[in-house]
Amino acid sequence: MSKRRRTNKDDYENDSASDSESVTPQNGHSNTLSDNNQKSFYYIKPKVSQKKSSQVDLSSKFTTLLSCLMGSNTNYQDSNSSKRPKRADSNMFINLFNGKESNEQVNRRFELYQHYWNSQHKKVDDILNNTNKQLFLQLQNFINRDHQSSRFNKLPLGFLQLSSNTANNLRILQEFNKFLTLENQKSDTEFDYKIINMSSKHCYHIKATLRELVKQMLNAIENGNSNTNMPQRVGDDNDDDEEEEVIDDDNDEVEDDNQYQSINTKGKLQYDLDMIEEWYNDKYNQKKSLRFIIVLQDTNSISNHVINQLIKILYGYRSTLPLKLILGLSANNISNWINNNFNNEIRILTNGFKFKCNDNRTLGYLILESLFLTDMDDENSDQPLNLLLNFKTSTILLSRFENSNNSIDSLIAEIKLCYMIHFYNSPLSALIKYDNVSAEYTNGLKKLPSFKKYIERKIYEHKVDDIEELLQDDNDDRIKQLLIEKRKDFINYINTVIGYIKILDKLQTLVNFEPRKEHLELYKLIISNSAIPSSSATTSVFISELVGQFVDSDNFESNFAALRSFLISYDSETPVILKLRSLISGSSAKDSGFKKLLTNFFQPISTMESLQDFLFNEIFTMNGGIVSQSSQPINEESYENLMINLIRPNLRSSIELGLDNCSTYLKNPFFYKQLNEKLSNLNPIITQLFRVYKEAPTTINVFDFYMAFKQSLNKNEIKVLIESFIKDESSDKYIQTLDIENNEDDWNKLTFAWFVQNCQELVMMGLLKEKPKGDHLEKVIWKGI
């Protein structure tokens, strides 16, 4: 343990000239990270000596890559290429093929990545921008209306009904902010919108709520609608907010008088809306009509007492200030929520309207469909083929979206990372567009699993000549030709798959098939056919059920007509569609053999080549990075790839596994045994402590814990280790004086020091907790969960 630490430290010290240089605040790296300036953590950047030029190159590339990834993930919307800071070395990819890849080829990959991602990103943006337009227009209409003139003068309230995913809710509210900011900038608008975003972290009591409200109002008045009050993404929070909590009652007055020029804040309390009222009455020029839009982003998390008080106060200003309050609510029934949270007085004082936002679930499917499941044109130079998802990646994407995280943002981040990994780690990825196939590429192509399978099949077919021709070292042209052929085949293949998907989906809608399969699920079924044993049966069962339901349904004739008109109107030259079109136009609804006809039509699906076996599919599809060589698990939820491991780390299982068996990280038998054969059985102390911990009851007496830990240590081996240190003159003086064999006190001291240190580490990891009295420790996790 101690040895390992020392070596690590040495690494850094050797490389760095001084400590101050080796630890650089994160913001030093690039502008994209400036949001994180306030953060309390640092990246340690080892200083690399100038001689190792290749390493400099590599590490700087890594940091640019990292910053690009992080910066664009947190705020992907601003990450289009034009806004990205220009770098001298715009390419953040490294040379593959063991460094033999030329810079030109690397650049090509990078360009392809940018090209692909930007076009997909644009599609996503288009979809996202258009989904909520209707809602925003309704909200704008609500805001513009002059509710003050109504007779009983209630406070108008907008209830924005949001989904249960908080990340998506935040994104909708953020888009709404953007929308209003854009509206503000229009020259012909007669309204002046001031948006105030409040969230539960501001609203722990009414005073803090109003203080924040007034602060944001003052800022909005002072700066117009600057970006200062845009909702902040999780993770972008500045630390100012926490400081505010400390403000005590003695400090309630607005302090800096010079901060706000247009408003007289002298002697006013921070939470007094009167000063806004005063400003509005005296100083606001009436050219545009002003609207203060107060958006409570996560009303569910705010104490209902505070909301009631806030509404009460705003009610008092309803006729003197143009206020609109919008409550963002995750509830499927607003009335129920009001019943549970508003008191009767507030209910009478307000006049609520409900606004419903779109379901994000369908949105996610829509995005996936439009990104990956659209018809591909024939190959031409400026439109390279679409990159598709392979079976595993699509399973992972779909299962995370459906099972655990239905946030649109994280879905987009996952897709982006897939693209990035694809172009970053595979030199062959460039071949999707370029035909300039050099010897390195052909060598690489020959090593692809799909190529090996292809050869195996040839062997099975006894086509020895073909094999010989392909495998000859100097015959690159043959491979190149094969690649071009396969590229064309791939387009046909995918168009066929998509054709089937469209038809199956149409049938599903016509007969209201339950449970309905989304496009990507159908895609998975069709492409995985012969490769996954369970799936071919599932597919055939599904198709025969669907066809049965379609033919036997009561309104078969109308469905038939609908299918026919769908096929005719469907603008595609895909052979599958054409085939069904001709089949259908040749038969009528009364035809008794139609069921057989349809079943036959779907027959090719079951014999279709699976995508996994498709030659060179590694180039045309994204696998999201490989993490382990072990065989694929049967259970689809246990699928893993690099992409998902980066976005959703297996935190708990890694910690538990690592502590249980340190060889994954430390004692790799490959070199450890060579290093010191005698010590091979000695584990790091923390692993030893964790073993004792695992067997302990929920509450552990500290002394018992220590005694058990001491007993569990192998004194003899430790003795050998210490002796080896004693021989080494450069080691610590304390170790040199240790005599654990004869001096029990030394042994106790040593083990106790280890015990205390490692207990602390377990506490830091969140596995252990000290009880208030201090004589007992408490286990925080249960084992095996």
Binding site: F142, F152, F159, S164, T166, S200, I206, K207, E253, N264, K266, G267, L269, Y271, D272, D274, N300, S301, Q309, I313, Y315, G316, S330, N332, N333, S335, N336, I338, N339, N344, G352, F353, K354, F355, K356, D359, R400, N403, S404, N405, N406, P533, S534, S536, A537, I634, N635, E637, R648, P649, R652, S653, G766, K769, E778, K779, V780, I781, W782, I785
Partner: protein, 482 residues
Amino acid sequence: MARDSVIDQLKEEVKYRSNEIDLLSAFISEDALISTPSLIVHGYKAVGKTYTVQKYLQTLDVSTSVIRCDECITNRVLLQRCFNRIKADRQDGYKKEDGIHDKLKFGKSIESFYNFANALENYFESTSYTKNHILVLDRFDQCMESTNELFAGFLKLREICQVKNLTIIFIVSTDIPKEVITAVTPTIYFKSYTEEQVTDILQINQLCLFGIEELDNTQAGYEFWKQYSKIVVDLFFSYTGSDLSLLIDICVKLWTKFIEPVVSGKYQVHEFVKVYRENADIFTNENVINNSSIREYATLEEEKPVSNENVEDLPTHSKFILIASYLASFVDQKDDLHKFSKVKAVKYKKRVFSNKVTKNDIDTRLLNPGFFDLERMFAILSVIYRNTAPSLNQHTEINLANDVAQIEEKKDTERAKFTLSRNTDLYSQVATLFSLGLISKSAASDILGARVRWKCNINWLTVETLAKEVDFSIVDYLGDGL
């Protein structure tokens, strides 16, 4: 004499409050010397206290400041507003100075009652303000901070400082606090209205109009309103009592729907009974009383009631987490081994012959949800997810090309090891459910601590629909499964 006629006219205008008006005129007058320093107006809510006082004060030629105390979050705001209003409402022809200068001079920062009294004294003295000024502290007991101390302070204002011409009227609806109960302060009590009085008051003014010229401002229209308000009072008096604001709200809310047959021309305006019969059901709607109905902005359609909570669009794992949390809350921890593991813990139930009903005899669903440890919930989650999740329980189709037994075996080991808690998504889902209020934790405890106790926050109906959605038979785990 002129004064008497004014008062009589006021009594006409403000119905059923002649005694109170007499009392007010006895205590409050234009002359500061014969006015009482402070007066408490006391009575149940919405019985016309503020209305009567304001109407009365309008008949006097005196400067009046009204503070709505229920909109003040702290006493400081209350005091500042009092001071500022008094300055602003002063009507003795005193030329107001420049705003900022004024503020600098008096009460730059009023922090306590003492500051306030001091500033007020300074202001009254230096500007030689001697005319009577009346300060009305409306809903004084409903300020967001407790005002009991302040109450005593205001009552003693004349003892503390030299201001002699300020009369304070407190309007309160709850009991007079103990700090001031012994002080000899004149109190006017406003009695609640009787049903007849309420009907009469409502009938005087036609609050809602038809929006048709031929009907509005006609005798027939007014008669229709009178009958309508009588009906409303008859039906809802037992609920509203004398609370006029509630009654007015109900009248207004139901009016548009009620007059629909008249507006559409189906019935004449004098056919009130027919109109009522046609509309009888709108009076029995629950929403009339709970006021929580809400309309969609685009369509103006009322929202339809839904029995379960916001759980439909949750991801599958979250649904299982909710079910697990429900089980953790409603299953006794000592039964865990028996219910969630393969261990057969055979338990012999003691037959209880006594008539005493213990907690164990009650269906747990009827009890309060119990608190649980997060890890226990995760353990339950692991078990129920393994056993029922569709992705883990697909049947292997008979496929002769593969070794079915081997696959099944592999699948079983995989299933036995499968856990949701291995990655970070689980924790973020728990956090989301917490922020949605579907699960809650014991108050004021560190979220990372081991002793944080969690609790399920959804009802049986919701969890039942959830269980149906994910095809999980929750009853098996809840009931007494022996």
